[in-house]
C-alpha cells in the first residue's frame, strides 16, 4: 500500500477518518482506536477553547467592551479584514448590525481579486455605512512572489497573499491607531490546515524570495510593511504597538447557509462560485495541489463542515471524489497569463520535485523555542488563539 503525501509516495496504509473525510494523504494525520483522526479530536479541543452559545457571547461581549473603549484616531475601533467572500462579509455585518462596533474594513488587493468579490465589498461597505480601505500590493512584487513560490515547489503557493493580507491589516491598524484586528476565520467551517500546506511565516517568505525571486521586496516601514511580516515586524505590531488579532466567529455557531441568506437579503451579496474563490488564484492553487501534491484543500474544509453538522459525510465524500469545480481551466489560463509566463514555463515548475517549508530557511526553529510565550500570547489574544494549536498540536 502507498499514499502520496505532499507529492511524495509513502509506503503507508491508506485510511480515512470514520467521522470526517480526511485520509492518509494529509500530513501528520493519525487515527485513534475508534478510527477518528487527530483533526477531529483537535476540533473537539477547539470547541472547549472557543465555546459558543451564551458562554461564547459573554466572552465576545467582554472583548467588545474593550474594543469600544479604545477607538483609534478616526473613531474606528477595529480593523476588519474583508475579501468579498462569505465569512469576512458576514463578520463585517455582525460587527455593525449586532455588535455595535465601528469597523474600518480593509482589503488587500494583490491583483487576483475575483470581480464578484470586489462588487460584494463595495455593496457591503455602502449598505453598512463602513469605510472600505483597499491596500494594494505593488504588482511587480506580488507577481514575482507568486512565480517564486511556484519555483520553490512548495504547497504554500499563496503565502505572499496571506502575508500581504496580514501585514495590510497591521498597516491600517498602525496608521489609524487601532488596537484590534478582527478576521473572519472559523474552525467550524474551514478546519485547520497542516503546517506544510500553509506555513505562515514572513521570514520563510523573505528567505525564499531572496533565494529564488527576481524582484527585491521593498523594505519594511510600520505604515507600509509590504510583504514584510517576519518575527521582528510581528513583534513590533503585537508587543510594542499592542495590536491584537481576534477571530470572533470562533465563538459563534457560524452556519454558512444561514449567513448567506442574511448577506444576500441585506447586502445584495453574490456567491463568488466557491469557497476561497474571492481570490481567482485559488483556481490555479487547487489544480497544482491536486496534480502535484495530492492535496485537497476542499477535503480539509468539507471535513470541518462535516464535524460541525453542516454537511453530511456522504455528500462530502461524493464531492471529494472528483476535481473541485474551482478548477476552471479558463481561470487557470487567466492566472498563468496574468503572471506573464507561458504554459510551458508553468508546466516546468509543476515538474520540479515537490518540497515543503522544511526545505528552506524559516523561522520555525525560533517558533519552536518560543512555544511557551506563543501559548501565553495566544491565550492573551495577542495572537489568534488557534496559533498555538496550529504550530504545536496539529498536523505536520
Amino acid at each position: 500500500m502507498s499514499v502520496i503525501v505532499n507529492g511524495v509516495e509513502l509506503d503507508i496504509e491508506h485510511r480515512r477518518c470514520v467521522r470526517c473525510i480526511q485520509d492518509s494523504s494529509v500530513p501528520g494525520i493519525n487515527f485513534d482506536a475508534e478510527g477518528v483522526c487527530n483533526f477531529c479530536r483537535m476540533h473537539e479541543r477547539l470547541l472547549e477553547i472557543y465555546p459558543s452559545g451564551k458562554k461564547g457571547q459573554d466572552i465576545l461581549e467582554s472583548f467588545f467592551e474593550k474594543i469600544r473603549s479604545t477607538p483609534g484616531k478616526s473613531g474606528y475601533d477595529c480593523v476588519v479584514g474583508v475579501s468579498g467572500g462569505r465569512d469576512s462579509t458576514y463578520l463585517l455585518w455582525k460587527c455593525v448590525k449586532e455588535w455595535g462596533l465601528r469597523p474600518l474594513a480593509v482589503h488587500f488587493n494583490d491583483g487576483f481579486d475575483n470581480p464578484v468579490g470586489g462588487e460584494n465589498m463595495s455593496r457591503a461597505a455602502e449598505a453598512l455605512g463602513v469605510e472600505l480601505r483597499t491596500i494594494t500590493s505593488d504588482w511587480r512584487e506580488a507577481k514575482d512572489l507568486k512565480i517564486t513560490f511556484l519555483k520553490a515547489s512548495v504547497p504554500d503557493l499563496n503565502l505572499g497573499t496571506d502575508i500581504g493580507i496580514a501585514s495590510s491589516l497591521y498597516e491600517a491598524a498602525f496608521q489609524e491607531g487601532i488596537k484590534y484586528i478582527l478576521i473572519g476565520q472559523s474552525f467550524r467551517t474551514e478546519g485547520i490546515k497542516p503546517l506544510s500546506w500553509s506555513f505562515f511565516d514572513g521570514d520563510y517568505l523573505r528567505n525564499v524570495q531572496k533565494k529564488l525571486g527576481m524582484v527585491p521586496l521593498r523594505p519594511w516601514k510600520p505604515g507600509d510593511p509590504g510583504f514584510n511580516l517576519g518575527k521582528k515586524e510581528l513583534t513590533y505590531y503585537t508587543v510594542l504597538k499592542k495590536i491584537r488579532t481576534l477571530t470572533p466567529l470562533y465563538y459563534v455557531d457560524y452556519v454558512r447557509k444561514d449567513a448567506e441568506e442574511i448577506l444576500k437579503n441585506e447586502l445584495g451579496w453574490v456567491y463568488p462560485g466557491a469557497h476561497y474563490f474571492d481570490d481567482l488564484y485559488h483556481s490555479l492553487i487547487h489544480y497544482v495541489h491536486r496534480v502535484k501534491f495530492n492535496i485537497d484543500l476542499n477535503m480539509n474544509s468539507d471535513s470541518a463542515l462535516v464535524r460541525s453538522g453542516q454537511l453530511s459525510r456522504e455528500k462530502a465524500l461524493e464531492r471529494a471524489s472528483g476535481a473541485y469545480h474551482i478548477e476552471d481551466e479558463r481561470i487557470i489560463d487567466l492566472c498563468i497569463k496574468r503572471l506573464g509566463i507561458s504554459r510551458n514555463e508553468f508546466e516546468s515548475y509543476l515538474n520540479l520535485p515537490p518540497r515543503t517549508f522544511r526545505d528552506y530557511p524559516t523561522g520555525y526553529g525560533y517558533i519552536k523555542l518560543l512555544r511557551i510565550p506563543i501559548w501565553m500570547a495566544s491565550r492573551a489574544n495577542l495572537l489568534p488563539k488557534i496559533t498555538y494549536e496550529k504550530y504545536f498540536k496539529h498536523g505536520k
Binding site: 488587493n109 462588487e119 463595495s122 469605510e131 472600505l132 480601505r133 494594494t136 504588482w139 487567466l334 496574468r338
Partner: protein, 282 residues
C-alpha cells in the same frame, strides 16, 4: 438649451488581457444604463485588453471587427448610443481608438488617440484625424484620456471649434499602487483641463475611466481607481466614486448649448471670458 440627454459613464472594471470578461461586465452595465433610460453611455479606453497590456500587441482586432461588432450589437439591442475605447488593428499597426455607435448599431465616428504617452509608443501609433458628427443627441466629438492633458488641450478645443456639443473621452486614468481611497487620487489633474475647456467653449465633456489593477506592461505598479468626470460649462455635473475593486454606472443629465458661435466668433467668445491668447505665444 436644447433637449437634455440622459447619459451614463460606465466606470468599468478592466482586467488586463481579458477582453471577453471585460465585455461581459461592460454589457451588464450598458444594459443597466438602458434600463435607467439613458440615451448615451460612455465606456473607458482600450477596454478589450486594458491599456498597454502586452497581449494587445498581437491580439488587437480591426474596427469594424468582432470586438466592435460586439458593441454595435449591444447598442442596437439596448437602443443606446455608445462611445467605447478599443485597441484597433489597422494595416499592421495598432491604434488606441474610440468609436461612437448609434442606437441602431452603426459606427458613426472613429478616432485614434493623438497625444500618446511615451510608454504607449511600442503599443499604439499616433492617430491622424479628428472630426465631429451630427447625431440625434447633438454634435459629438471623441478624444481619449491624455488627449486632455493641459499641453494637448488644442485637441478638445478643436473639437469644440468644430461645433461639438459633447466631447466623449474614454480614459484609463492611473495612480500609483500606494494611493488609497482615502486620498483624492488625481490632485485636479483631470478636473482642471476639462473644466477649462467646458467653461471657455460651452461644451460638455464626459470622460469615463476604468477601475482595476494593472497586471502587465509598462505601468505595472499602478492601478486605475475610477473617479470618472462629466463637466458642463457650469462646472462638474457628476463624478464616479474612487474605487479600484468594482465597476459603477453613473447616470446624469447633460444639455447641449444652443445658438453656438462659429469660426472666429468662438475666439471672440473665449477672449471675452478672459482667456489671453497673446499670453500663449509670448
Amino acid at each position: 438649451m436644447d433637449k437634455p440627454v440622459k447619459a451614463a459613464m460606465v466606470q468599468l472594471l478592466v482586467e488586463g488581457g481579458e477582453p471577453e470578461r471585460n465585455f461581459e461586465r461592460a454589457e451588464k452595465l450598458v444594459a443597466g444604463a438602458s434600463r435607467e433610460g439613458c440615451g448615451l453611455a460612455v465606456l473607458p479606453e482600450t477596454i478589450d485588453f486594458g491599456w498597454t497590456h502586452p497581449s494587445s500587441i498581437d491580439e488587437a482586432r480591426p474596427v469594424p471587427g468582432s470586438y466592435s461588432d460586439f458593441f454595435c450589437e449591444a447598442a442596437a439591442r439596448y437602443g443606446i448610443f455608445l462611445a467605447v475605447g478599443l485597441t484597433e488593428r489597422r494595416e499592421d499597426r495598432n491604434y488606441n481608438s474610440a468609436i461612437l455607435i448609434d442606437s441602431s448599431g452603426n459606427i458613426l465616428l472613429k478616432y485614434s488617440k493623438i497625444n500618446l504617452l511615451e510608454v504607449e509608443f511600442p503599443y499604439y501609433t499616433v492617430g491622424g484625424s479628428i472630426s465631429v458628427v451630427d447625431t440625434a443627441l447633438g454634435k459629438i466629438g471623441l478624444n481619449i484620456c491624455s488627449d486632455n492633458y493641459i499641453e494637448s488641450l488644442h485637441i478638445a478645443k478643436t473639437l469644440a471649434s468644430m461645433g461639438a456639443d459633447f466631447i466623449l473621452s474614454p480614459a484609463s486614468w492611473t495612480v500609483d499602487y500606494s494611493v488609497a481611497e482615502s486620498r483624492e487620487p488625481y490632485s485636479q489633474k483631470w478636473e482642471r483641463p476639462l473644466k477649462h475647456v467646458a467653461r471657455l467653449y460651452d461644451v460638455t465633456l464626459i470622460s469615463a475611466t476604468a477601475v482595476g489593477y494593472i497586471v502587465g506592461g509598462p505601468y505595472e505598479g499602478k492601478k486605475m481607481v475610477g473617479g470618472s468626470l462629466a463637466v458642463s460649462p457650469e462646472g462638474i455635473i457628476t463624478k464616479g466614486s474612487v474605487n479600484e475593486l468594482a465597476g459603477e454606472l453613473i447616470t446624469f443629465e447633460a444639455s447641449p448649448v444652443s445658438g453656438r458661435e462659429k469660426g472666429v466668433q468662438i475666439g471672440e467668445k473665449v477672449r471675452k471670458k478672459g482667456y489671453d491668447f497673446e499670453a500663449v505665444i509670448k
